[in-house]
């Protein structure tokens, strides 16, 4: 059975801290891994990763994929209160019209 596991489930940090969110997966026919940020309602796209070792970066956020060890990390540096959200990891499988989502990591950044 295809599975996506995120850790930690929740995290509370102070502004300025750096955080690392983890996503591990067990799927057949892996195609890509995606990260989404969910603030109040709809998830919004952050990154899509398909190749190992290539870092994707957007401002203070970055992500990398390890296809050998079957995991990805999402890093956020110099966190701000606006980074408070649920971060969702999802895996796309070849031949399936679906994304398998993890349960998410709830990040809270306090001033």
């Amino acid at each position: 059975e295809d599975k996506v596991v995120q850790s930690p489930l929740s995290l509370v940090v102070h502004e300025g801290d750096t955080v690392t969110l983890n996503c591990s997966y067990e799927v057949t026919n892996f195609r890509s891994l995606l990260w989404y940020k969910q603030e109040k309602k709809a998830p919004t796209f952050l990154f899509m990763l398909t190749s190992s070792g290539i870092e994707k970066k957007s401002g203070r956020l970055s992500s990398i994929l390890d296809k050998k060890e079957l995991f990805s990390i999402l890093n956020i540096t110099a966190t701000q209160t606006g980074d408070s959200a649920i971060y969702l990891c999802a895996v796309e499988v070849s031949g399936a019209n679906n994304l398998f989502f993890g349960t998410g990591t709830r990040l809270t950044v306090i001033p």
Partner: protein, 114 residues
Amino acid sequence: NAGVTQTPKFRILKIGQSMTLQCAQDMNHNYMYWYRQDPGMGLKLIYYSVGAGITDKGEVPNGYNVSRSTTEDFPLRLELAAPSQTSVYFCASSFPRSGSEKLFFGSGTQLSVL
């Protein structure tokens, strides 16, 4: 710049009632999806469609039905509402499969069945 539009935003149903959640997208996306998100859980796929007239079941289709008569619209029907269907429902759409799978989500419908 509408994107994916869902209605209603909130709804309370009594057990056994039926309703239709509406979803429309104006991006000419072929692929559309319905997900549900239970508290503290990830999104689970209910149904999806790869084009007008074509629908298929996802992970958790029981208790739901869909139709796709046009490219733009993808309504989700609950026939006999049950408390287990209390959830937040998200509609999403995406570009045709070209190796770049990015979902565009609607703002969600919070449904309570009492």
